[in-house]
Each structure stands twice: as structure tokens, then as C-alpha cells.
Symmetry: C2
Subunit: 696 residues, 2 copies
Amino acid sequence: MLNRALDAVFAPRRVALVGASDRAGSVGKLLWDNLSGFPGEVVPVCPNRTVGGRAAYQDLRSVPGEIDLVVVATPADSVPGVIEAAADKGVPAAVVLSAGFAEIGGDGVRLQEKVRAAARAGGVRVVGPNCFGVQNADLPLNASIAAGTPPGGGGVSLVTQSGSYGMAVHMLATDEAMRFAKVYAAGNKADLTDAEVLAYLREDPATTVIALLLESITDPRAFFAEARRATAEKPVIAVVGGRTGAGRRAAVSHTAALAADDDILDAALRDSGVVRVRTGLEMLDVARALAEQPTPRGRRVGIITNSGGTGVELADLLADEGLDVPELSPALRSRLSELLPPYGSPRNPVDITPAWRLFATGYPGAIDLLARSGEVDVVVPVLLQRSASLEVASAVRDAVKRLRADNVPVPVYACFVAPRSADDVADVLHQSGVPCLPWPDRTARAIGAAVRYGMFEPKPSSPHEPSDLLGPVDDPGDPIVARDLLEYAGIPVVPTVRCESADEVVAAAARLPGPVVLKVAHPDLTHKSDVGGVRVGLVGEQRIRAAAGELLALAEGASVLVQSKMDGVETVVGGFRDPSFGPVVMVGMGGVLVEVLRDVRFALAPLDHAQARAMLEELRGAAVLSGVRGALPVDRDALADVVVSVGDLLAGSDRIAELDLNPVLAGPDGCVCVDWRILTRGADTTEKYGPAMPKN
Amino acid sequence: MLNRALDAVFAPRRVALVGASDRAGSVGKLLWDNLSGFPGEVVPVCPNRTVGGRAAYQDLRSVPGEIDLVVVATPADSVPGVIEAAADKGVPAAVVLSAGFAEIGGDGVRLQEKVRAAARAGGVRVVGPNCFGVQNADLPLNASIAAGTPPGGGGVSLVTQSGSYGMAVHMLATDEAMRFAKVYAAGNKADLTDAEVLAYLREDPATTVIALLLESITDPRAFFAEARRATAEKPVIAVVGGRTGAGRRAAVSHTAALAADDDILDAALRDSGVVRVRTGLEMLDVARALAEQPTPRGRRVGIITNSGGTGVELADLLADEGLDVPELSPALRSRLSELLPPYGSPRNPVDITPAWRLFATGYPGAIDLLARSGEVDVVVPVLLQRSASLEVASAVRDAVKRLRADNVPVPVYACFVAPRSADDVADVLHQSGVPCLPWPDRTARAIGAAVRYGMFEPKPSSPHEPSDLLGPVDDPGDPIVARDLLEYAGIPVVPTVRCESADEVVAAAARLPGPVVLKVAHPDLTHKSDVGGVRVGLVGEQRIRAAAGELLALAEGASVLVQSKMDGVETVVGGFRDPSFGPVVMVGMGGVLVEVLRDVRFALAPLDHAQARAMLEELRGAAVLSGVRGALPVDRDALADVVVSVGDLLAGSDRIAELDLNPVLAGPDGCVCVDWRILTRGADTTEKYGPAMPKN
């Protein structure tokens, strides 16, 4: 069911423009002009008598009849009043372009809070403030400060927090015949959430590809749940800015957005099937590629070039994206040879060489042979200098048309390197729906992202509802209570006995097979190793008794935990409650890999076994788990189960703030946790959430 | 002293064109036309009576008078004869554009060998064959198949193995006013080496930046020695293609080039100060940036934008390149604020926001303030959509002119995002020497590479001449001979005694302090661990005697090495003799880091202490050497000394093929090698060179 407010935003019948103006160069005039193509009525609201020859109203309340959408471009301090007026009139939605809100801090934050309060009180849903506006290219509706109205008929819908990429829509529509369905500039996101917009675009039949350019994500848990649904139906391509420190600071100064921890974000995006790219331009390139051509079904790329050097460069760059430029079969090579000069190469990259006269037959012929061969998943003709001619481009266009007519499911993307004077050649491709990507680097990146989408296998949404295993009065800060909780959650824990005296320790050790480990237990001694509170591999009553005595003397009221000494590959499993992402789990390689290389992976909890297994595969030290130098592989299913259980504990029990199992020792026949720490959300811990590295 | 042959190539007085033609569309005609601007005489040689109205000669030998350069565009099989004729006439140099040589394999390889033999026999130096040609834009000389002759006056000289990047010269000269000094297309490199061309361009006063686009490097040792000299004088920017498997195969099919192992190549390029980039376009971008603006002296970038989103994106991308977008001082922020609207941001990125009327003063004003502040090393105005206007571009140009007039050493690069209709705005910048880079990604990459050049500190060339430490009859396959060799080379080795009986082992162990290690020694048992031939940490006569007996029984004639058990961080040091790079050394972290993550670094030998220290810093596990979790840092100088000594052994002793010290245990007070293996170049080992992972 479509969101009624977003339906009013994108498909209003009657629009009021508050702040309409006739003054050249003003935003009110620009909006008035941009709205001139709207098929319904646009009512100007402003102090003037008329705007563009139409009678204007001084107050929104005095406009007769129903209004579906209010577009607001008046000074910031007037906006709360405008929203109140819209509420009084029963208008379901407002797009606020005005700036001077949270992005400037201080008073602006308070003013934005007023806008939100007025909107919530009056049932008006708000886009913005401080936004570029919205467009529905098919209606058309252009309620934005774009330089003009783009033509409709495209499948890409863009959600952007950057006005400059809103501007780019018009530029690409004009210069490169790129077509969009809808454009939504989120601005400061005072009200409508990213998840709501994503859900709307998922259901919107005009939208075939969703492109997101975000500096923050409102309500990440709702967003990722919705993203999982959306990516099962259509591609979602995202740039999330402020990845780095400097970027983050700039994000704050720009839209008062709080950038999320990038590792968690990255894991959550990947897990939900969103294809993340680094730049807005990459986003637009891959969105176009997916909107105009079939989705690639594999990693194998066939290249056709007239320059060996550019073929090598493109092959290198495709390999950087994880793609293959495979050897072709002898049969295919022999058919390709018929299209080439004697000194051409039928290997991949297929090289026509500078045999100019053969370009107009060689390019389309090789495209056809490669696409129908079953040996590649993507075909890239490199149109370079002399092959970037109208004759060759037209022949490429026709070859692709034939492939589409025959439902050959292999996309064709052109890599284009030519002077300005060949812009008209590029236009032939742009207008025929063959993505025309300048230079090998941009080409490789777009193909890499398109293949990432094509190779993603949607998973069922949120796996299960974990229950709360933590009793209301249990204190998991106590190591034995914590151990019982872990065991109750199904996590294997090393046999552990708490002893209050050296005699008890000796007796407990005698009941355990092999050498033992002694650890001090005291609420104040959280970093046991640092105070000499851990003794490993002790044998013999005398040494055990001596060590027990030393540990008990470390602090008043200390006790000693006695454990069997275990073997296995050191891993760490943990989790924490992120202020915006909620429960997050982490798994990593122990020892030097986590200490020095921070070899860890994150996921939102709860998660299922397959996701946990995938996290293990993505570790840089994954090979250690599958057995190096003759070692047996460890039981990765058992380790994945621990990760799932940690996720369930966090997701089920609100009181748990942080949870570290470090190390979990993994072996061929299972794994076991030998040290653990659970922090609850108390007065002194609530501010401590964050993906801090676990310490022993 | 300039290379006489290359002087004839780039600055001939009289040229003969063999294969000249009047036939439209032929290469002979294209060359004739391109040579028309040459101020000296061009003599046509071909079967026709005349070419372009000039009398032609049927044979080079019959041309009267001296010829400095022969340009050859006749079929491949005629080329050896042409070279012989050139030799007979005493012509010092020939540029062979003809194809059909080594790049097609088989007969082509043999034909190229004939060309080389004729050239060597007759004293003719050859460019190509199978090349795009050469240009000296200042003369002008255009002996290439470019689409036209580029204007002179630029400082960038390009050496390219890809004709398409030769073509790009003309395209960038026409579209973007980029100026080149010389263009040299190396083709199949039958004769003249990369080192010779590099030396020529280093000495060429017209060349201020050297750009190399190579698919192979001829005689890498000579090349890197020359590169070290060149980068001390001017920037050298390089793309070396065929980085990946697919790329490599394409390289073979194109120019029959044998791609070198990329890790060694990368280390050698970096060490010699060559800035390596990934694509030809990046190479041209950074070459232009360094030719037209001062060299950046640090990593701090100041950004001026009119879109917060694009500012965030650029900041993220600059951080990916290792650059900073630093906080600005309150004083500077306050001065910047005077240029901005109230809701603008004087933080970095400085955001003018869409305050159109302030663009023409804000951009140049902020450029000036930032460049003179001492707080940034690079200034990047983002000219985006509405700020990409003639008015703003002219103001930026004038601001940069003032900085240059005042010798402010801070470069300014424009990031440009605008439609085709703003091409004339870009032209204002192109023509004034302000690099104008489209989109944030290309901008960030060019700046990153320029800063890498600016931050490189040239080192003295080749450190020393190691002497041969290996006696002519010594067999370093014997572990004790090898140990003595290592110790003679100054490498600390664990005390080691060879014993032939269990009694001897027990006696030797009694003379060593603490637990001992026993290792079997036998020529057939090269992988000692795999056959159970290593016993670690033995104490007590009985256990030692039993272990010794087992090891002696492993093979007929086996002996046992007795060593003290040592502690320390596991590292590996090794080296080998590469067929093209010669002696190469390697250092890496031991244990899981080398096994799983291949955490190793290479360098050409011999090397000096500073280079070896730098290799250690570049290891991903470098933090392990500087002490993690409270451990003391290891003695990195001692470890670096081992690396230098291994390099000297390899460089000094021709007979050593491979050398593995694995592990070398490093501690706070030095390091010690506890296992080693040296392979000599014998009948069965000469084919075994290669950076194989050392095994115990």
C-alpha cells in the first residue's frame, strides 16, 4: 500500500507554492517556472497580488479548495507557521526548500524542532527542510531548484541528500539522454524517514532502479529491514558519504547528520543486498547500466578493442573489481578471427587493431558472437579514437538491438575514449540505451557494481525473534552468572569453578584433567592480564597452590576461577548496542590478526547461521579457520552458532550493553569460550556503547 | 651527454620516410602529412616517382646527402633490408612503425630478431617496431600516426607502449590545451631500452615531467638505476600494465612483453621515487598537475565548494588517498567567514552554499586566503554547476596568477562538474594552467599522486658494491657451510653443532644453556618439519638421547643439528635471483601473517639500511615489531641489517640462486636466524628462481 503522504509528494493534483515570486534570480521564481509544466493547478502564495499573471493568496489558509502538496521557499523562521497553516487546511505533505535549520546549528536546530512538532501535531508529512526539492519526471512535477525539468520515461529514481547530485540529473538528462523516474532530495530529514521513501520507491511501478546518495541514515534498523525487501525486487545502489573523519566533519557542518560507524554500515548494506559505491557518479553510472541493459549473471567479461594497451588497462581494472576476462574457446576464437585482420587477436581482449576499414563490421560482429557464446556475462566494446565514429556507434547500437530482440541476457556497455568533437557519436549510444562510459576506470567500476548486484542472492528477511534470556535480577557482571547465561544461550563455555581459598583451588584443579588455568575474579579487576591475574598451564599441587595464593592477594574479596587449559584457534566474538544501529555482533580472528590488523566483521543482530558463516568467510584470516600448514579445518558451523547466539542474547535482552567472548577457541570438533565479559546498561555504562576492541 | 641516436630521433636535421605515399587513408600518406610541419627536409622513399610533389627515391641508399632519421612504414618483411640500407648510409636512428613482428609470435619473432641483428651490425638504433611513432612538439617533428601535430611549449614528455595514449596526446592538446614536449612510442622495444630513453628525457631541458605508460620494462636493473637519477631531478609518473593475470595475457598478445612480477616491480618503482598510478588517464592528469603548478609540499588539502555533498565526497576520496582535509584555525575561519553568506561554512570544506551572487568573490578570495595561510598544502576550488561560470573561472584564474606572481608555493587544482555547455568555462582554466579535473574521483587521484611525488625524498643511488663471500668450492647446501657463510656475512645465527651420533648430541646439548632443539640434517630431507625431523624444547639426557636416535634413523647418513631454543618475534628474510630483476630480497612477518596474508615486502639488492628499515615499516604487521600489548619493540635495526646482508650475499655471489632465513627471531636486543637454506645455481636449480614462499 502506497504511503499516502509520499503519493501526495510525487503525484499531487493541486500544489500551493508558498514563497512564489516574479523576481528574476529568486528561488520563488525558479520554482514557479519549474512548476509550469505541472498538469494540475499551482496556486501561488505570497505577499504580492499576482505571480506569473495568476492571482496569489497571502495565506495558505485562504486558498479555496483542496491542496495536496505545499512547496515552501520562504525564510526559515516563517516555516513553522506555514506548516501549521497546511495542517489547518488538511494538506497531507509539504516540501520545504528553505535553509537555516539544523545544518547551521543553534537556533536552526530549535527551529527545525518546531517544524517537526507542527508537522506531527497537524498530520502534515514534511520533506526537508534545506532540500533541493522533488521531481516526478513522468507527470511531470518539478518542485525543485533544478536548472530545468528533465524528460520522463526513465526507470532510475534518485534519493539524494546532496543538491549537486540533484543538479546532475538535469545535466545528464540534457547531455547524455539519461532518464529518471523520480527525484527526492531528503535535506535535513526532519520527518519522513529513509525507510519510508525506500518502501514507496519499491512499490512504485515506474521505478526500476533505486539510487541513494545519503550522508546519514535515519532509523537504520527500519531502513535495513526495508532495504532487504527492496533489493529482492529491484536494484538499490547507494553512496553513503562521510566515510572518513574529514568527510564526517563536513557532513556535520552540512546537514547536521550523525555519520554512523562505517564498518557496521558497510556490513549492513552488503548483507541487505544494497550495492555500495564510492561516488555519486559511480552510483549514476551503475544505475543507468542496470536500468538500460539486462542484469549481468556472472563475472566473465568479454572485451573488444582497437588498442591492445587500452585492452590491457581495462582488463587490469576489471580484475581489481573482482571480475574475470576469461580465455575464449578455440571454436569462438576461430569465428572471431574471421572478423579480424591477420595480425588481430581473437583472444580476450579481442583486438581489431587499427584496421580502420574493419571497425564497422568487426565491432558489431564480435559483440554478437561474444554475447551469444555463453562464454561471457558482459560484453564491452571499447570505442576509442578512430573507432568512436558515427558508423561504428550505429552498428553497435543495431547489434545490441538485435540481442535485445532475441532476449539474449548479456548486457553490453561501451567504454568510450574520444575527443569532444565525437560527442555526437556518444549521443548515438546514449539515446539507444547502450551505456557509454568514458575511459576504462569508470567503465570497470560501473561493471563491477552491476555484477555485484547481479551476483547477490536475496535472503529471507529478519531470521527470528530472540527471547530474553536474562532474568530481571541477574547480574551478568558476575562471571559465574554470565557463564550460566552463555550456556543457557547454547554457547559452549570451558568448565569453570569459582574458589574462595587456595585449598578450594587445589581441590577443583584435581578434578579437572590436565593443566589448569587460574584467573582472578573481582569486580574492580576488569583487565585481569594487565594485573598479572591470569596463570596458564599450571601442573602440580605446589605450583597451583602458590599461584592461587598470589591471585587471592591481588585484591580484598578476590576469588579465583579454575578452568581446564584448552587448545584451538583464537577467535573473538562480541557485540554491543549501537545508539543508531541497535544490537550489533562482531566476530574476528584472535591474536595478532585482531590486535594488529583489526581483522573483524560486523552484522546487525539478530542474524541467521548463513549470515554468520558468511562473516567468517570474509575475515582476512579466514584461511586460518579452514586449516593452514596441514592443520585440520575448525568447526566453522559451531563458531557461527556462537555468533548467532551472541546476536540473540543482545537482541533479546535490552539490558545487555556489551558482550565480549575473548577468546573463543575453535577446533576441528567444536569451539569453546574461555573468557567472557558482559556489561549491562547501568548508570555508568550507557554512554559506553561502541565497537571498542575487546580486551581480556 | 645526450644519447646521439635519441638526439637524431627527436631532433634530426633531415629525415627519410620509407613507405611514403600519396594514397588517401594510407599510413604512408598520414606520416607524410604529419611530417609536413618539420622545418628540415623530408625525403620520400617509395616505388612511386613523387610523393606530395617531391621527387621520391626507390632505395634509401640512393638518397644523396646525410640522413639523421629514417621513418619506416613498409611491410614487415621489408624492414630488415631497410635497416641494412640505413646502416650502409650511416644513418644513426630509425623509427619503425610497421607491425607484424614479435607481437604476432612465430615468424614475427624471427623477423624482429633479424631487424635487431641488422641494427646491431650496422650501428643503427631502432625505435619500435610496431610503434605509434615519435613527436617533438617544439621542433615540430611529428613522425607518428597521430591525428594531427600537437602544439609545443609544454613540459610533459610521454613514453608509451600504447598507441591509444599516443592518440590521447592530440585529443588533450585540442580539447584541453594540454601541452607536451616529446612523445616516444616504444612499441616492441627491439633495440633502444627504457633506461636509455629515461636518461635522455632526464637530460632534456624541455622535459619537466616524464610520463611512462609501459607494458614491460627492458633491463629493469638499468631502468631502476636510471629512475633513481631521474626522480632526483624531475617527476617520473608511470603506469605499468599487465598487473593482473588477464592483463598479463593481453600484454603478451599485444607486444610480446613479459610482465614482471608485480610486487617486485611495485617495490622497485616506489623505492626509486617513480610515482605509480593505475591508468593512463591518471598519469596524464598528474603529469599535467605537476607541470603546470608548484609541487605540493604536504598532505593538507583545503577545499572550497558550493555544495556540501560534493565537499563531503571529495573529502572522503582524498582521505582514501592518504591526504588530510584539516581543521582551519579560528583566525583563518573568521577571515573566510567574511566571504561567505551567514549560513555558509568557513570550516574545511569551505562551503559558499548556493549563494550565487557571492561566487565571483568568494572563490578567488578563499583561494587566496587558504593558499597564503600556511595551513594547507593544496587548494581545490570545486566549480560545480552554477559556480562553473566564465565569471568564476576567470576570477579563479586571476587569483592563481597572483599566487604565482608572489611565489606562493601552494598548487591550485580545480574540481569541475558541469554540463557540456560549460566546456568554454573549463577552457578558461585549461588555457591558464590551472588543472581542471572532472568529478571528485579524478581530482582526488591526481592530487594523491602529486602529493606522493612531493613527499618523496630522493636517496643516494646504488648503495655499495658487495663482494663475493662464497668460496669457489664451498657448498652452501651443507647447513654448516651455509651457517659459516651467513655468519661471515654478519648475520647472527643460533649456535649450532652437527652431531653424527646420539652420544655426540647429548654432549653438545649439555654444553648449551636451557632446552635445546634437534633437527635432522640430510640432503634429501629438505622439508624437515614435514618428516618429523624437528624436535623443539627438549630437556634431560634421556629425552634428548631418544629424540636424537629417532632423527638419525630417518635416513641413511643423516646427522643431527643441536641448537639452543631461542625466543622472539618470528620473521622471514630471503632472496632470490629473478631472471629480469636480478637479485631481489624479501622480508616478512612469520607465522600466520606470512602463511595466510602473505605479509612480505620486496626490494632489489643491494640495498642500504634505510631502505631495509622502510621495508619493515611497510609490513602490514609492522606494529608487531614495534611492540603490541605491552611487548617491547624488537631491534628493527638489527633485523634491517640482516636484510641488507642477505641482499649483499645475493648481489655479491652469482652462484647463490635462493636464500631463505626462516625464521629469523627478533627481540628487543637483536635478532637471530634459527633455520636457513641456500640454493646454488646448479643444473637442477637454475629453473627454480621465483618468489616462492620459504618453507621450513
